[in-house]
Symmetry: C2
Subunit: 276 residues, 2 copies
């Protein structure tokens, strides 16, 4: 496995076999490990599997956890190697963002619900860094976790709207035994919070299992479970939205439900797909 | 020469030799012809030279000349063929822009002077369509005319800030015998306007020939020439700006001067490079 920090060196690396990119912010866990293994399968023996590790400053808002975000580069490299990565791309912030950078990507439309209102500028920052990574690594396939469901929808839309010649694939969320979605931010939780956090998953399962067509009724069901089982948490949103447009639904036809709950410092998100 | 209208077909066309792209809005003139010939040289015999012809609706503002913009596809194809193009890429607006497009490119910083204030949203539209063309054609080199000086600066900045693996080259402006910069919009001029239009070039030459270090004094010199020789015209701006940042200069060290003059319907732009 090779570690590349230089953008030009990364950009000049070309193979004829498929190149697969798994973009990450490091602090890798078993969920990333499964994404990387899936990437290895898609790249095949002849292809090239690149894992990028870059904590992107432009997707954190003021007061968010950029400085506190966990960094564990040595452990991350071990996990990448074990999961079959060929290259870890690990650029510096200085190389990624010139001081006088003026051109960026703007995502509208899919960002008016869920995490959008709570994190102004977040998806613009995500789109900009992912577009840069796409242009640097030039993958044929890019893999993202479905835990960040809205992010995946926005990036697929970016791929379409800007005609990136890249297949953008979402991979299923990997969970702890008690159902909590794996996340680098789970390590922010203290013991009591950690014990309550699986309530998010239980609320979403109850929402999905319901046969109620009225979205508000299902949301109330989820809210009750979280209020009862996770009193340390604070709900940022619990909404049922259309999978493609991320628009809030009154009646359920083809939606996904997504919840975000704060547990003090940790902002945990999770979601579940629902069929009508 | 092949004409391709389908985006997927264009996107799947790959050669190992260099691919060169000349993006145009059609209504091609001798200036485009020289750009295309230059592209042929850069592509070489083995390379692929793609000319895109697409009147991009998103770079025209309300009240601008999108509907009136000249279209001459058959003549354009003849010129492309004669100048050595391999492929004319001619997509439909409907294929280029989905109704629910939500992700686009935003250019700030270089767009606060010159054409920026007069054409809000223009450079965002230019960047977005050029990024799309870059992702569809995937050229190694892209050629743009220096007549659109600010556009070239913005696109080079986009290339840098979004890490497009593309060399963006500016080609010298081609002129009529009397000095008027060739432009598809020149055909909007009536006879009297056409006779006065070369005053723009004379004003810029006088500005460049001056040894005055105070920018305002040089600008006054240019304004006088245009006022005297082109009374049918109306100056939108006549400014001296830094070549890289497009910031207005008080004192001349490393600048470019650019003028825009309206002649009724025609918005003509031209510029000249100045050394301190």
């Amino acid at each position: 496995m090779t570690i590349i920090e230089d953008i030009a060196q990364m950009q000049s690396h070309r193979t004829t076999a498929p190149t697969v990119l798994v973009p990450t912010m490091g602090a890798l866990h078993r969920g990333h490990g499964e994404l990387i293994s899936r990437g290895r399968e898609l790249a095949g023996d002849a292809g090239s599997l690149v894992v990028s590790i870059f904590v992107n400053p432009t997707q954190f808002g003021p007061g968010e956890d950029f400085d506190a975000y966990p960094r564990a580069f040595a452990d991350d490299c071990s996990l990448c190697e074990a999961a079959g990565a060929d290259i870890v791309f690990h650029p510096s912030s200085k190389a990624m963002y010139q001081n006088d950078a003026t051109v960026s990507i703007t995502a509208q439309g899919l960002t008016e619900t869920l995490c959008g209102p709570s994190r102004p500028g977040h998806f613009d920052g995500v789109c900009t860094v992912v577009a840069k990574l796409f242009n640097i690594v030039r993958p044929d396939i890019a893999l993202f976790g479905k835990k960040d469901y809205q992010q995946l929808a926005v990036l697929q839309r970016m791929g379409r709207d800007l005609n990136f010649p890249i297949e953008i694939i979402g991979a299923d969320t990997v969970r702890e035994k008690d159902g909590l979605a794996m996340s680098s931010r789970n390590r922010y939780l203290d013991e009591a919070e950690r014990a309550q956090a699986p309530a998010i998953r239980r609320a979403l399962l109850a929402i999905a299992a319901s046969s109620e067509t009225n979205a508000a009724t299902r949301i109330d069901l989820g809210r009750e479970i979280i209020a009862k089982d996770a009193p340390l948490g604070r709900i940022d949103y619990l909404d049922i939205v259309c999978r493609e447009t991320m628009v809030r639904l009154d009646t359920i036809d083809r939606p996904a439900a997504a919840a975000a709950v704060f547990f003090d410092k940790a902002r945990l998100i999770d979601n579940i797909e629902i069929l009508p």
